[in-house]
Each structure stands twice: as structure tokens, then as C-alpha cells.
Amino acid sequence: MNNLIKGKKSDWEIVIGLEIHAQVKSNSKLFSSSPTKFGSSPNSQVSLVDAAMPGMLPVINEYCIKQAVKTGLGLEAKINQYSVFDRKNYFYADLPQGYQISQYKNPIVGEGKVTIDFRDGSSKDIRIVRLHLEQDAGKSMHDQNPTKTYVDLNRSGVALMEIVSEPDLRSSEETALYITKIRTILMYLDTCDGNMQEGSLRADVNISVRKPGDNYGTRCEIKNLNSIKFIKQAIEYEARRQIEIIEDGGTIEQNTLLFNTQSGKTKPMRSKEEAHDYRYFPDPDLLPLNLENNFIEKIRREIPLLPDQRKVKYINELKLSNYDSSVLIAEKEVSDYFDSVFEIHEELKDSSKLVANWITSELFSILKKNEINILQSPISSDYLGQLILLIKTNKISGKIAKDVFEEMFINKKSPKDIVEEKGLIQVTDIDEIESIIDQILETNTDKLKDYKSGKTKLLGYFIGQAMKISKGKANPKILNEILLKKLT
């Protein structure tokens, strides 16, 4: 795929690497038993350890370790049986210990990869360098008082997974696909809730530009982006900025940047002289982590089918197209819903395309219109399956099915009940259909004459009339057959 962008003088390639910070889905923090619920009142979820009171000590939360290992396995990465927690030392008001406990030289997860899929059916592997566990900081609130800054430590000590990629990404689109894919995988694994708005998933973007074939240029890091839209905007802006500087004869200064979502511009976070020396060293309060093989293998067995595997299954077993499969797997809940249709109604397996269409068109649009997600859908996968079965067995037409579907959404009734109550069962009785046809041909002798003289387009008119009389319930296939027979 050609990702080059045009400068004033030549074409440029953007080189992007990502550090994704994903909050571990866990009821308690990485080194304390405080709860992690989002949106609680300030400083209501803070233990003595989180507030860094004198003499307090961290104790590793085993569940967070499991989640990190699970994520590593989901990213097809090497799990390091030996890993070390280090202290990253710096001062900030919302960092109570004066250091963040992180993993530096020996992360819990090593090299892995993630595949991103393009619309044209092609794909690309993005290499993962590592995944490590670390504590989140608290939150400084500058807008509560004109002269003071308040600190909320609820988030202090919450477990994060930092997932670092190689600089394998070449455009804002690829970056968006990559972060979406990571988010999907984490949500399949249930190791992160993926909620970007609440900051459960955010990214630092490392970006440089170069002429194709050249060595990597000097990179800048854009910190703390928490929406895919902003990530794309920030990359576009920053790439342009760097190209302009270089083309004007300047050089790029390695820098840490912030993206202003209002202006759409990046600006330096701190100058070079203030660059931190984090003085990493192994945290003496924590012993190195030694994971046993059994521990890892047990987690491996708990890993569900991941999006790529489900996609292969859809393509091979259900004969769905690559595109349909991609749409279905993008959200775990959708894929689960789709799967459960077949778990309940196995006989629909040869109608997978029909099921996929009903979900991605009818269900998606009605959910979107009502601003709810698939888990909140009033139409269960069972009922949707029943509805599709009614179509498949010619009990109702596709058109009537759409009306029934809307009725199901409002009343939460089963499609059978609705069809019976309203008498919507399709007419498949040949005699009945024949009598309807006879009726319309008798009342339309002129048109019948016209048809026989060559105006065959009138077939549609006859069908329409017959449908009208049957109130849409006539089986279109049978109707068509009999009508054609009678017209010849």
C-alpha cells in the first residue's frame, strides 16, 4: 500500500510506533487492595499504600499478573517467566511515592505481533516489542480552585499494561487499525474494558518522517491521546509539521509533545533541559516475579477464540466473506451474538450470510437509532434466529419480516407470537394463490391484453395487485410461478 505523503519538494514516509497504556480489568489495584471503580468521588478509593504513607509496602496483586500474561498470550508474545518491578523516579503532585513502580529491563511479556486487516482484504503484521505492568498515577485537578491544584488519588496505583510496538506503522489509518485491533483483542480477552473515553486505553505516539529508503528520522512523542480520531489528527498534523521543518532546511528536535484537541496542533510538553533522568532501579520492596510453567499454561487454556481465529472460522466453516467476517469480529459482543444464533438454531448454519446481514444491517441500524449496544438489545439472538427461520421456511416474506422485527424490538415478543397475532403467516396454498390471480386477471382484462401483445413489463403490476389482495402474505415465489403459467 502506498502511504507516501507529498511535501513541497518530495514524497515522505511517516514512521510511527505506539505505546498503548491499557488499564488492567481488575477489581483492585496493582499493589494494594483498593477498588478501581471509575467515577467514584475523589480520594474515596485510596489505601495507605496508594497514598504512600511512611512505612507502607506494595504487595503484588496476582490477578493483575494473570491478566498481563493472558494479554501477552493473546498478542502471540513470549511470556517472560522472570520479570522485575523497577522504580521510575520523578516528582509530581499526583505521584505520591515520588516514583512509579514499573518494569524496565525485565518486562513480563516480550516480543509478539498483531495483524491488521485492510478493507481490500490485504493485511500487515505489526511487531510488539514488549508488554510491561506499571502503576497509574493519580489525577491533578487544576480547575477546582483559582489558585490551588487538587489531587485525586483514586487512580493512583491502578494497574496498567504498557504495550510497545516496533515503528512498523506507516500512516494514521494503519495506526487507527492497529489500536482498534489491540482494543478488540484486549476486550476479547477481558483484560481491559477498552473504554477510551474513561481513559482505560490511551496511547503515546512516536512519530518521525523520512524519504522512502532513508534511515529513520528524529522522532517526537505525542503523549496521552485517548481517542482514535485525535490520534489520527495528531499524526497528520505532526507529520506535516516535521516535513515542513525539514523541507525548509531545519532539523527535528527530539521532543515530547502534547496534542491540543481544540486547535488540532501539537506543542512541546517540556524543554530538553528538563528532560527526566528516571533513575530506574529494581524495587527493593518487591521480589522478582518468577512465573511457573503451570501458571502460564493454565492461563493459556482459559484464552477464548480471538478475533482472528473467529474470522478464519467464519470464512472456512460458515463461508462468509472476508469483509462480513471482519465486521462481525470487530466487537466481541457482536461476534458472541452472531455465534449464539447458531448455537441455538443449528439449522441456520447454511444461512450464515442471511444471519450476518440481519445483524449488520437491520440490528445495527435499530441499535444505533436507539443509542444502545448489542448487549442491551431487546431482540435476543434466539428470537432473531427464529425470525430468520420463518423467512427460510417461507412462513413469512423478507419484507414482512422487517415489520415483525420492529415489532419485536418494541414489544420484546417472539416473532412467532407476532406473526400469529397479526395473521402474517405467508400464503403458500397454491389454490388460494391461484384464486387471487384469477381474480386480478378478471378485473384487469385490458392489461392482460396489453401483456399478451408484448408489454411484459406489466408482470410487476400483476404481482403488486396480487400482493395487495393477499396483504403481502402471498409467497412471492409461488405467486410468480403461477402467474407466469397463467399469462402464457
Binding site: 495507605l48 497514598a51 504512600a52 504513607m53 511512611p54 512505612g55 507502607m56 509496602l57 506494595p58 504487595v59 503484588i60 522504580r87 523516579n89 516528582f91 503532585a93 505520591p96 511515592q97 515520588g98 516514583y99 491544584t149 489531587v151 533522568d277 533513575r279 530506574y280 532501579f281 527493593p284 520492596d285 518487591l286 521480589l287
Partner: protein, 472 residues
């Protein structure tokens, strides 16, 4: 003097020769009369009386026994300062694991004892609350009690409590015990929980005990040892009944005498008591084995890299944001940090934060911190190898007797040399005990140090008890 031993006092309490209140009043009186020693940072009679009135009787030797707590242990009902201005008014809402264990057995806390600021010092001269005076000082020349647990050592030696807790990072229990002529034990790293103890150097800090005799040390040690799941470095092992298991029969045992501890320049009197102690052991049927701990000479520099490195990070939390002292000069966040720490920390603490920050800095980490960690491993291996040949090791505790207050203050290196015999065991994490043994020419007490294998505190008590009984 009566009432200097826990065992004897516990018997008197049990036999109703004295009540807990009467006993406490004796100690309150002694503390008031010895206020000049400056052994206590916090001492409040009402607090003591309140403890007695709310005491539930415990079936323990320690029920009603008055103890002193080094002001590095967080205590719920008494302030905790770490002898620093930066924690001057700090009142913890929690009780350290070790002191809670003592409270569970019904002991009474007389107060919080003075120490070097954040336990950084060897003379108890760095405390924000002033230096402690060694009770053995003559009027003319006040002597240091040693450090950092100088207040605890002085309080025990002067009879201002029956026992005291201390912490030992590089010698902070054993050295002041030696200077004050009492028993001081630093157990194996991991034997006592560090939870609730203000941290100095996490990989070295260990709680321990001061008493006037070995039996008492065994009694208290047994009480404060034990596993704590809130401390990841705490050892989950069975704690023996040290006191009841004390066995003075050392025949057949082997003592290791490390060649490298014959350092040049130490006073002859130190060598003499060392020799005498060896002879005494020999008389008890102990085999003498000359051993080598070849990396001993690197112990002090190694210690003075690792301990400050950890301290520089451990003390980062004292920033004026959450608790403790905050400078008036706080127009900006940076100014608040700088001024709070400038005004809140003393000179020695700042020196060690600077050293620690330096050795962890980019470009210096490998040459200092990483190398020091490697050497530490070698030092630990020296001990492990030696314990293949001997059951315990005997050394002097300090290179001199207590020195006058003010001496060595202008030369930190000289001050650091005080720890030369105690630091190697700290780096190796093995237990050590110092007991008074012999006197200097000036008549000041000297100490002898016994070291043993990891978690073999029982051997320390056995040997110390033997030497205590056979000390001429």
C-alpha cells in the same frame, strides 16, 4: 538497680510484688530524672496511664512490661517523626506490624526514642530533636550513644525502659548496643515485617531489639518475629521458642574467626577483647577456625552506594504534598518541593539523598549501583561459604568504644567507618548480635559481635548467653 531485666520484672508482676502502675511510675520517674540524656522524642505520662487503664491482661511474659519504641516505627497512639523535621507532627493512623505484636502481648510503650534522622547516622547526632547522650558519659565529656538507634540504646542502658525496639540497616542496633554496654540483635533480613517502619534502605532495613541481657533479647525477639503478608520480603517460617531453647553447651561447635576483620589502625583493646572471647569459647569446647571473608574490604563502599540509592527513592515521598512539613515558600509546585525538602531534611539526610541520586543517574548506574549489587552478592557468598566450615562467626562489633559528641562530625568517611564490622552482615542479610564484652582503657564498654546463618538466631542466643555467663 532493680527492674532492669524483663524476666525478673515479669516474675515480680506475676507474684504481685508490684503492680503495673507502680512499675510504670518507677520508669516515668527515671525518665524524668534523666531527661538530659534526650533519649525520648515523645514521652507523655498521660499516654502511659491511658495504656495501663485500657490494658487487657495477656498471658504473656510481656504483659505490663514497659518498653521503648524507636521513632521509626509508626504508632497509632503516639506521633512518629523519624527524628526529622519533615515528619515533625506526623501522627500515623496505623500501627507497625512489629509494635502491634508487642501490644498484642500486653506490653506498655513508654514513648518514642530518639534516633538519627531517618536512621542515617552512627552517633545519634543527626536527629532534628538533638543528640542523645550516652548514659555512661562522665560529666566532663559527653559521649555519643552510637547510632542510629541511639535513643533506644541509651534508654535501655540507663534503665529508662526494660527493652526497646531498634532498626538496623548497617549496624544501627549492634553499634549503639556496643557503645552503651547492652545487648542488641539484628535478626535475619525478612524475619520481622518492615510494614509500618519508616523506610531508609528497604533491602537492608530490619527491626531488632535492645535489652540488658541475652535472655530478654530472646524473649522480645520471639515476640516481634513472624510472617506478614503485607511485606513481600517477609519470610514465612516457623519462629522457634528462642528463650526456652537457649542452650549454653557449645562443645563441638566451630567458631569462624575472619582474618579480614584484623583491620589496621584499630585500638589494641579491641583486639584484646576479641582474643579473650575466643579463648572463652575455646574453654567451652568450641573449635576455632580461621576463615576468610575476602570481599570484606568492599563492604563499606558497597553499603554506601546501595543504602543511599534506596534512600534517595524511599524519601521522595516526603514532598510536602500529602502529610508532614510543608515550607511556607510554596508559590509553585517546584518551589514547594525544593523548599520543603531543603528546610525539612537535615544535612546528613541530604548528603545521602544526593549520593543516592548520583549513583542511580544515567551514565553512573552501571559503574556504581549495578557494580555494588554484584559485590553485595560476592559478600553474601563469602558468608555462605564460610558457614560450610563453621557454625558461627565472632568479630568485634565496632572499631572503637563510644567517642565524644562532636568528634568525627566534620569527616563523614570517619563516621562511616564505625560500621565497618557491622555492614557486611547487613549486606548478606544474616543475623548478628552484639553483647557487652570487656572494657576500654577508659573503662567504657566494648562489644563483641556474633554472626550466624540465615534464620539461625538460636545460635546467636546460645553463644551470646554462653559468653554473657563466662565474661570475666
Amino acid at each position: 538497680m532493680d527492674f532492669i531485666s524483663i524476666k525478673e520484672t515479669a516474675d515480680k508482676l506475676k507474684n504481685k510484688k508490684i503492680s503495673i502502675t507502680e512499675l510504670s511510675n518507677i520508669f516515668i520517674d527515671r525518665i524524668n530524672k534523666n531527661a538530659n540524656l534526650n533519649a525520648y522524642i515523645y514521652f507523655d505520662e498521660d499516654n502511659i496511664n491511658h495504656q495501663i487503664s485500657s490494658l487487657f491482661h495477656q498471658e504473656s511474659l510481656l504483659n505490663g512490661i514497659p518498653l521503648a519504641i524507636k521513632d521509626l516505627f509508626c504508632t497509632k497512639n503516639m506521633p512518629t517523626t523519624a527524628a526529622s523535621k519533615i515528619l515533625k507532627n506526623f501522627k500515623p493512623t496505623y500501627e507497625s506490624f512489629v509494635t502491634q505484636k508487642l501490644l498484642n502481648e500486653g506490653s506498655i510503650f513508654l514513648g518514642k526514642t530518639n534516633c538519627d534522622e531517618f536512621a542515617m547516622g552512627s552517633a545519634n547526632t543527626t536527629s532534628y530533636f538533638g543528640n542523645v547522650v550516652n548514659p555512661l558519659s562522665t560529666k566532663k565529656i559527653p559521649l555519643v550513644p552510637g547510632g542510629s538507634s541511639g535513643g533506644s540504646a541509651a534508654a535501655v542502658a540507663a534503665g529508662l525502659c526494660l527493652g526497646a525496639t531498634g532498626t538496623d540497616t548497617g549496624g544501627s542496633i549492634r553499634q549503639p548496643a556496643s557503645f552503651c554496654g547492652i545487648v542488641g540483635i539484628k535478626p535475619t533480613y525478612g524475619l520481622c515485617s518492615r510494614w509500618g517502619i519508616v523506610a531508609f534502605a528497604s533491602s537492608l532495613d530490619q527491626a531488632g531489639i535492645f535489652t540488658n541481657c541475652v535472655d530478654d533479647a530472646a524473649i522480645l525477639m520471639e515476640s516481634i518475629a513472624g510472617y506478614d503478608n503485607k511485606d513481600s520480603t517477609s519470610a514465612n517460617i516457623e519462629i522457634p521458642n528462642y528463650y526456652k531453647s537457649i542452650n549454653n553447651d557449645l562443645s563441638g561447635k566451630t567458631v569462624g574467626i575472619p582474618f579480614e576483620y584484623n583491620i589496621s589502625g584499630i585500638p589494641e583493646e579491641i583486639s584484646i577483647i576479641w582474643e579473650e572471647a575466643i579463648k572463652t569459647l575455646e574453654k567451652g569446647g568450641v573449635k576455632i577456625k580461621k576463615i576468610s571473608l575476602p570481599h570484606t574490604k568492599y563492604a563499606l563502599p558497597t553499603y554506601y552506594i546501595i543504602a543511599p540509592a534506596e534512600a534517595s527513592s524511599n524519601l521522595a515521598r516526603y514532598d510536602g504534598v500529602k502529610y508532614g512539613f510543608r515550607s511556607e515558600k510554596n508559590e509553585s509546585l517546584d518551589e514547594m518541593y525544593e523548599m520543603t525538602r531543603k528546610e525539612g531534611f537535615g544535612k546528613e539526610v541530604k548528603r545521602r539523598i544526593l549520593i543516592g541520586t548520583y549513583v542511580l543517574s544515567a551514565g553512573y548506574y552501571d559503574a556504581y549501583y549495578l557494580k555494588a549489587q554484584k559485590v553485595r552478592k560476592l559478600i553474601a557468598n563469602d558468608f555462605i561459604n564460610s558457614f560450610q566450615e563453621c557454625d558461627f562467626i565472632l568479630t568485634p562489633t565496632t572499631p572503637s568504644a563510644a567517642f565524644p559528641i562532636g568528634e568525627k562530625e566534620d569527616d563523614p568517611i570517619k563516621m562511616y567507618l564505625n560500621d565497618i564490622f557491622t555492614v557486611p552482615a547487613s549486606l548478606a542479610g544474616i543475623p548478628g548480635i552484639s553483647i557487652p564484652y570487656g572494657k576500654s582503657k577508659e573503662g567504657l564498654p566494648l562489644g563483641i559481635q556474633i554472626l550466624s546463618k540465615h534464620f539461625d538466631e538460636q545460635t546467636l542466643f546460645n553463644v551470646a548467653s554462653y559468653l554473657e555467663r563466662n565474661n570475666e
